[in-house]
Amino acid sequence: MKFGLFYELQLPKPADRDQWGPDAERRIYHDMLEQVALADSLGFDYVFEVEHHFLEEYSHSSAPELMMAALSQRTKRIRLGHGIVLTPPAYNHPARVAERIAALDILSDGRVEFGSGESASDMELGGFRVERRMKKAMWEEATREIANMMVQTPYEGFEGEFFTMPTRNVVPKPLQKPHPPLWVAASRRETTMVAARLGMGSLGFGFETPEELGERALEYYRLVREELMPIGHAINPALAVLNTFMMADTDEEAMRRSANGPAFFSYSLGYYYNPAVGGRHQPGGSNVYRDFLNRSEETSTVQAQRGGFLTAAEIASGEPNDEIQKALYRAARSGNAIGTTETLRRTLLKYEAQNLDVMIFVAQCGDRKHEHIMESIERFGKELLPEFKERHETKHKAWRADQLKGVDAVINSSV
């Protein structure tokens, strides 16, 4: 199993004021640069950063290509992942995406992971006039053509449903051939299976349990073997999942440092993605963090203070059926990668046993402190990463090679 960090660049407003301090955004951007540089030096494999727009407090990461460009010059080995680029053409013209991905691939000496998706929040869809009911079709058309642009010389042009473009040579071309590994955001099991059939890595945002992962990994790889219909020119067989992350000397201290980060992550995600709630957001005027503290006692500091997270059995008995609601519930309550070195080892071994390819940690969330995140990255990098890396090279790669026997598509994957 490989490991990565995941960034939304969350920035809760102060509960007692209506706006952030003048230095707040500068601080989280520079904190991220420092955190990823440390992770790179310790051998973390990936950093993934979202693209979101207008989701105040939940995500201030609207130009991830710039952060990635900065990181490409401050890091040596870590893979730079878009998790994800919004590819419906109203957000980003497909040619501009192809150009930016290729330029970043060159700047980083071939370290780009190209994740794509379409978002589901009213704030973003409405802000860019993207029709909700067409967004998946837009995503597919644009993503397929972006892959073509990175490969064809010249790009033959396209007359599509959502964008048209005459023949042009889209330059530069990426360093990785035929193009960087492709990923797609997958909050539901169905989407993971779509990813498999399209030959894309599945960036799982569902906070899946190890038990769920076992079945999902086997099915995912079976579909890659048996039902592949690649969207690009190379496939990226890879299954990744998110988990909230914080380490300390004791489980209790890790939970205290975790603060209400996971609960705010979950609350603010639900706030923007539930049309009934997100639609009431007042741009520039709402205070989501204050709402969170006032309205969700169960998932706020009170929960963290009284001992934190629920057990797997408690989660299973109380969680909603709907997959998106379930993901939110788990994001706030599971605390799977929060604790001591031994606690994390126990948890992560379960994921490893189920053949997960990549575990991605959400460290920066809510009002967690930079120094606690740095300490956790360092502790994980020194105390746990080496043993998992060794088993990845010796055992997991052999398992994966076995899963991919008989697949005759071109593969470009960093797993």
Binding site: R133, A137, E140, E161, E190, E219, E226, I231, D322
Partner: protein, 116 residues
Amino acid sequence: MAKASDIRDAALRGDLETAFAAMRAGKGAEAVRACAAAYLAFIDRFPEVKAETIPLRGREVSRLLRWPALGANMDPDSVRAGKPEIAFERDRFSVSEAMTYYQFVLDEILAKEKGT
């Protein structure tokens, strides 16, 4: 493992095999129509699903409303009337949309046939 070939009901299996072949050929719309036909046939085959509910955002809704709303949408009025219909709001569908419908119908049929 969830394969169309695992479906016991021959007619339902045939519908999904048709959908799969259309996806392979890049014919998203044809595949979605085959999935919709399969799902309505599934409801006929297992009419008890019309009475089943699932919790969604704090209320109980018909299980049939889990059908993905990507342009071929389950009509809620028809569900309430006990005669479910799927309304097509457009003619073109992408392959990934077809895959989403296909996976949904496949999982639903196999779950019901296995009694889970």
